[in-house]
Structures are given as structure tokens and as C-alpha cells.
């Protein structure tokens, strides 16, 4: 079974699978790429002074996939030679487990780095995914950005961070 470029689900994540999905998608053009940059996001045991025990991720899955497609299209627009694979996990995740795996490839490293960083920043802005933090003494939903894919300022900010 081939791994899709963009996916969300309860299965444990592996960077190699994201990279392999990218390899498969570029096919016979693979020889023209000179860089793959990968990012793996992990569940951390502390957050703003709280001792975190585990996280639970929830998503509006069909819209999350569309958000990933949108991010991929934005990357294609901004860095036409870069390609993206992005896998997000949902459900209960223990400390040290991976919540997101991203791979970006391009003929040159600068665009692969930028596309990879852009993807994680945009996920945090517009993907309908939520984490509930279970810590010593309680639990809470973490609420970050109001998701608005049309917000050009947010998009520009993600681009600025990606190119810093």
C-alpha cells in the first residue's frame, strides 16, 4: 500500500513514511532534487510550567485534509520547485510520541527548508485540529489561532518565519 502525501489518522507516525510518500510522488523526476528536509513534532512533558502527562488530539478530519491540501498548494505557489508530504496523528499520544511528520523536497536546500517550516506554521494557523493537555492536577483544551485561511497577514507571517 502506498502512503498518501497528506494524511490524518490515529496510526503512529514515521518520518521515513513521509519521505517515502514524497519519493513515490516525484517518480522519474527524483534525480533533479537535491534536498529533503524533515520535521517531526513530539509530545513534550512540560508546557508553560505544567507537567504534561499525555495529549489527546481531535480533528475535523475532512476539513483538516483540505487544509493540508491548501497548504501544499500555497507552497507550490510560493516555492514552485518544492513538494510536500504531511502526516498528522490524532487520538491519545504519550510523551515522546510524534504528533506530526513533515517532509519537503526541492532541487535546493533553501526551498526545502522554507517549505517544511512554512507547512508547520500554517498547520498551527489553519488546520482544524485541537490538543487537550492532561497534566498533573487537571486537563485543558489548548486554543491557539482562530482559523482563517483567507487571512493574508497570517499567511505572510508564516512565510516570513519560513524565510527567516
Amino acid at each position: 500500500m502506498t502512503t498518501p502525501l497528506l494524511a490524518i489518522g490515529p496510526e503512529p507516525l514515521e518520518l521515513e513514511r513521509a519521505a517515502a510518500a514524497l519519493d513515490a510522488s516525484v517518480g522519474s523526476n527524483a534525480g533533479s532534487d537535491g534536498a529533503v528536509v524533515m520535521f517531526l513534532g513530539l509530545v513534550r512533558n512540560h508546557n508553560v510550567g505544567r507537567r504534561v502527562r499525555y495529549l489527546e488530539y481531535e480533528a475535523y478530519e475532512p476539513l483538516a485534509l483540505k487544509a493540508f491540501e491548501r497548504i501544499s498548494a500555497e507552497i507550490h505557489e510560493r516555492w514552485p520547485d518544492a513538494r510536500l508530504a504531511l502526516h498528522h496523528r490524532i487520538g491519545r499520544l504519550e510523551i515522546g510520541e510524534a504528533s506530526i511528520a513533515i517532509a519537503a523536497r526541492s532541487p535546493h536546500r533553501a526551498n526545502a527548508y522554507a517549505a517544511c517550516r512554512y507547512a508547520i506554521e500554517r498547520v498551527k494557523q489553519i488546520a482544524p485540529i485541537w490538543k487537550r493537555e492532561f497534566f498533573d492536577g487537571g486537563d485543558m483544551w489548548i486554543e491557539g489561532a482562530t482559523a482563517d485561511p483567507e487571512d493574508q497577514r497570517a499567511r505572510a507571517e508564516a512565510e516570513r518565519i519560513a524565510c527567516a
Partner: protein, 81 residues
């Protein structure tokens, strides 16, 4: 007409359910549904300025006019990654 409403994360906790059905008059918008829900569950009102909304799994604005059978979703600020 009748729509399905999906609630996520803390909005789901506040309402005590992830999905409910609502009967609406023709011309009702996403905002109509939101105001109805905020009337039923006052704690939702805190989210008035920070939620996003979607119809049939596409982001949509509060003034979007609904049709029979639509799935409306209300999304609190996101925290993926």
C-alpha cells in the same frame, strides 16, 4: 429545513454533544445557528469573536446562507501540530 451541527474540542464539552440537529427557517445563516446555540449554552458566547465556522467541510463565513441537509461546524481556535 434541517441542518446538522458539529461541535469540536471545548465547544463540544460545553454543549455536552459533538453533533446536534436544528430546524431553521429559510434564509437562515451560520450566524443564525450560532446565536441559537449561544442562547441555549451561554458559555459558548465567550467564543463569539474567536470561532471559525464551516459548511459541508469547507470554511465559510457567518453570513453564509444555509440549505436543507447542510452540515455546519463550529471550530474553536486551533492547536494542531
Amino acid at each position: 429545513m434541517r441542518v446538522t451541527v458539529r461541535l469540536f474540542a471545548r465547544l463540544r464539552d460545553i454543549a455536552g454533544t459533538s453533533e446536534l440537529a436544528r430546524d431553521l427557517a429559510p434564509g437562515a445563516t451560520i450566524g443564525t445557528v450560532w446565536r441559537q446555540l449561544a442562547g441555549e449554552f451561554p458559555a459558548l458566547a465567550d467564543y463569539e469573536r474567536s470561532i471559525s465556522s464551516a459548511v459541508n467541510a469547507d470554511y465559510a463565513r457567518m453570513d453564509h446562507v444555509l440549505r436543507d441537509g447542510d452540515e455546519v461546524a463550529f471550530l474553536p481556535p486551533v492547536s494542531g501540530g
